[in-house]
Subunit: 169 residues, 2 copies
């Protein structure tokens, strides 16, 4: 895995976002999910098995869901104009491929041209959908779950702006 | 809403299941989801808004997921032979229709003939899929999310039997 300029896994400008993404929402925070890498166009998150085990000793389905679902917000935070747009989630599909018996990681590389195209649509129409297909992997690199999600950016009403400027340090 | 014979919302024989369904898995327990009604062919669960709020004051997507996902296990617990079969989740799709700004409830009535047919298939093939389509509703009775899930019952290997006999008091 490559590292960010200066060797940092989390770029300085995204430190606040990396913290907010896993701590602002109580239901996310209590899973203990961590951002392990965050820089322009790239994110890596890890869901610990510890605290997320089900009744047969593998990772709970809902914790795998959370690991995938947070990517919509993180993509918004690093790929879109966070002052102008806020994100919502429209639909998530999760397939459980294999039992997850270790920490589970998710690395995503975002496409800048695609993000620019989506943002242009939102500038014009007030909103635009964006989708992600995500491979959640166990410690051996095997896919345990596949998450397909559809999110949407919408132009931020003035009254929401103060609540949503989380990606600025 | 009708109540169980004797006026009880949770039938005596399902008390243990009602407790286990929301407390055995830490990731479910920490949401605070409750079983409000449980009897032959019927269940009602409630996800409290308190403790499950996101950064814009509505219910977190993952908590809505949990409310839907637990139904696969509860259906197993009341509709199938829990000694012979154990459940796994294969795939969940969740659509977010409206912001959920209150507690969210989910009532499900199961079809006995359909469950018997599924169990017969599992007797024959060792496993059988079952699916549910679920309407999650806010305090005003409006659908906030629709969950479509596919689970599977499988014949329980001897070594798992001790872990999975949760629905017997």
């Amino acid at each position: 895995m490559t590292v960010a300029p200066g060797g940092k896994m989390i770029e300085e400008k995204y430190k606040h976002l990396a913290e907010a993404a896993v701590s602002m929402v109580e239901g996310i925070k209590r899973t203990g999910v961590k951002v392990a890498g965050l820089r322009d166009g790239y994110v890596k998150c890890i869901m610990p098995l510890d605290g997320n085990i089900n009744h047969v000793g593998i990772m709970y389905a809902g914790s795998l869901f959370t690991l995938g679902e947070i990517m919509g917000g993180i993509m918004w935070g690093i790929m879109f104009d966070v002052e102008k747009f806020y994100p919502i989630v429209k639909e998530i599909n999760i397939q459980f491929k294999r039992p997850a018996a270790s920490d589970v990681s998710l690395e995503v590389t975002f496409n800048k041209d695609e993000a620019d195209r989506i943002q242009k649509t939102a500038e014009k129409d007030g909103k635009a959908d964006y989708s992600l297909e995500l491979d959640l992997k166990d410690a051996r690199g095997q896919t345990v779950s596949v998450v397909k999600g559809i999110w949407q950016i919408r132009k931020t009403p003035e009254e929401l702006k103060a609540m949503l400027t989380i990606s600025k340090a």
